[in-house]
Amino acid sequence: MTSDSINTYGENLDALGASAPLTEQQRQALDTVDKARKTPDVDQPWAALGMKADEYEAVRKILDRRPTGSELAMYSVMWSEHCSYKSSKVHLRQFGEKTTPAMQEHLLVGIGENAGVVDIGQGWAVTFKVESHNHPSYVEPYQGAATGVGGIVRDIISMGARPVAVMDPLRFGALDHPDTHRVLPGIVAGVGGYGNCLGLPNIGGEVSFDPCYQGNPLVNALAVGTLRHEDIHLANARGNGNLVVLFGARTGGDGIGGASILASDTFTEGGPTKRPAVQVGDPFAEKVLIECCLDLFKADVVQGIQDLGAAGLSCAFSELASNGDGGMLVHLDRAPLRDSTLAPEEILMSESQERMMAVVTPEDLPGFLAITTRWDVEATVMGEVTETGRLVVLWHGETIVDVPPRSVAHDGPVYDRPYARPDWMDVRQAAVPDLLPRPQNDTELGELVVTMAGTPNLASRSWVTDQYDRYVQGNTAQAMPDDAGVLRVDESSGLGVAIATDCNQRFAALDPYTGAQLALAEAYRNVGVAGGRPLAVTDCLNFGSPEDPAVMWQFAEAVRGLADGCQQLGIPVTGGNVSLYNQTGTTAIHPTPVVGVLGVLQDVARRTPSGWKAPGAQLFLLGT
């Protein structure tokens, strides 16, 4: 099928936003594949885009020519640490390798998709995943935290699930540190503002204070979704001639960072206007998008839906194509823009929020558009699936990208970075608790208990959680202050799930291997004591710079610990997220492997809340 055949769906051509033709000057400034072939020696700003010399060389080798500006934009962002997991991949493999077939018994979709999907019985499935939004939340606390919630929720939607709850493990510097005062209120308000507006109950999380997070707060967000087994959808672009449809918010210059360098190369005249430093979330747009996607799945008018997060369209095009039959042809100039001065490189890299991409058969397109219209969601046919094995991007008819999609999405660089146990671990581990002063009598013991209860890390969190809606959707059986959040999934049978997230970064700092296992064990216990049978794990691995062998060692140890722990407990890791470079100057945060455990309850009516409710009840201490 040629690009012209898109016009057979001509009644929607208006929605295609046919853009004004390029001026001669713009055409000349455009970096096309043709031009790249003819001008192999052009100096390209790969270093400014965060690429290493050998990575740039690898791209040239893949393409057998220099990349165009747009290709460079795509490779640089997709091969970044954040998108490619290039430093962590070699270690994360253990999660797969140490998963036995028995552990996979309840796994409908495993690690590697947008989110894992777990069978909880009675035809029901649950998907859940935790992700970080640390750096954006440091820059702009409210919007950073808000868009963190928005991003993880879109992952859940793309699996075909209805999002049903969120959780928010948060970590801040010392309570009385000025930076904590700067970031904390905004982060909490942002988590609440976005989640409340989406109608997702907040059923748990963490609030932890430690000086190591001064200047680098951790904002992790977990989302949970439920679906019937038959509703599982995977995001891939299959079926020659199927359409690729972008829908949701318009594309602006959000989060394009380095791409502006490329753009200013391209646009001599006037240059691009200022680009926003941060992304602003629109939770209302996302709420509408959720309902719209659920209607699309229900009407069975989509093959798959991919969320747009980090790396925006670059990621969506290349991943959809790479997971599918391998070819795609898109007309980038059709993308509806919020800022008409955006250059193609910038559009490819934009991280504008509240956007999704669907693969739709031509026959289903009218049905698809009827639903997006009903929800007043803008939808644009960007192109189609092809059998060429190439991802081809056109800009006003000129070819600006022509690449093998796998090379962008999956075959990026992989580093086995050096790691070594640092000497200072000896000092750290020598500081055993036995050296701490002990209370000498009942009075001192009493005082100690009162002091401890008043410390920020042990005091009530209600000043945070009271800003979160825990009632919406009417299925929350447990939230704050219980050990695990408990949700009803099936209203008739009472089938439900329990979820807890935990990590004690001080333990992880003392011993990353055991610390990660303790985080797992705590979340596992919290699910267990709520009455849930643990089934699956998600994790968010927050660490310092992988280029520091000491940090890399912490990372390797934590992953090994978590993988071993999961094997012993017999529950698989189904997904998660790695956040590296969490440090201020050369000082890394404590290793912080946040672990979320999901368990099933046959009937949530039989859950166990924490605390002693009935006078006269007997107390037992279990375990060692």
Binding site: A189, F284, V472, G474, A477
Partner: protein
């Protein structure tokens, strides 16, 4: 007994309201913001949420939807004594009702400038409404409250008139969570058919999923009242 529940883009508690109607023994009917047809329902619930994102003012944009035009017509002016279509506006629904001028006053940002979610104690002050006739006058109940802009305000003469005409339906007890004037949690029109309430009775209709107090079912009577009222009408 058919009770309509309106869904605006951005409504959140619509499914909960539908469930509450069902638990109360009624037949819930989903109504769509863009459709003026209210399908001959006997009463309407405007649910909580953030209609159209509530970006301009809470409820301001929803008020102009086709379904609201029809509901405003059927509910009748706020001071008329003969009864029109019973309407319960919860939280965002209450905001839509004040923006529609079916109820006086307005709801503004919480005094402490923060969203607040808590189990809230209320006293039912008026039982001669379509939605509270199942309560005893002065009955104290606990239902969830969750809002960012729940402070009820009106000028002094309006407040005096509401008090004088006995149109304060519920008042906050123990804590005034949002700075509402005279601790007002809910009010009604003159005939008692239209009620606006900030806290959420629909989240307290099922044991185990509402506040811990009283089994968490203190809100159910709002919905059973409507059925009673409609039956006896």
């Amino acid at each position: 007994m058919r009770i309509g529940v309106v869904t605006f883009p951005g409504s959140l508690d619509d499914r909960d309201a539908v469930r509450a109607v069902r638990i109360a023994g009624g037949t819930p009917v989903s109504l769509w913001h863009d459709d003026a047809d209210i399908k001959g329902v006997d009463a309407v619930v405007l649910p909580g949420g953030f209609s159209y994102g509530d970006y301009l003012r809470c409820g301001a944009i929803a008020r102009f939807s086709p379904v609201m035009n029809e509901i405003i017509r059927l509910a009748g002016p706020p001071d008329q004594v003969s009864s029109g279509l019973p309407v319960l506006g919860i939280c965002n629904g209450f905001q839509v009702l004040t923006e529609s001028h079916l109820l006086p006053g307005a709801l503004v940002r919480n005094e402490k400038q923060q969203f607040i979610c808590r189990d809230q104690k209320l006293r039912i002050e008026r039982t001669s409404t379509a939605w509270t006739n199942g309560y005893a006058e002065g009955q104290e109940i606990v239902i969830p409250l969750k809002n960012g802009e729940g402070g009820f305000i009106a000028d002094e003469s309006t407040l005096d008139r509401l008090e004088g005409e006995g149109r304060v339906v519920a008042r906050y007890l123990d804590v005034n969570p949002n700075g509402s004037r005279r601790d007002i949690a809910g009010i009604s029109n003159a005939s008692g058919t239209v009620v606006g309430l900030m806290p959420h009775p629909e989240h307290a209709t099922e044991a185990g999923y509402g506040p811990e107090a009283n089994n968490g079912t203190d809100g159910l009577a709002f919905f059973t009242s409507a059925l009673q009222g409609v039956l006896s009408a």
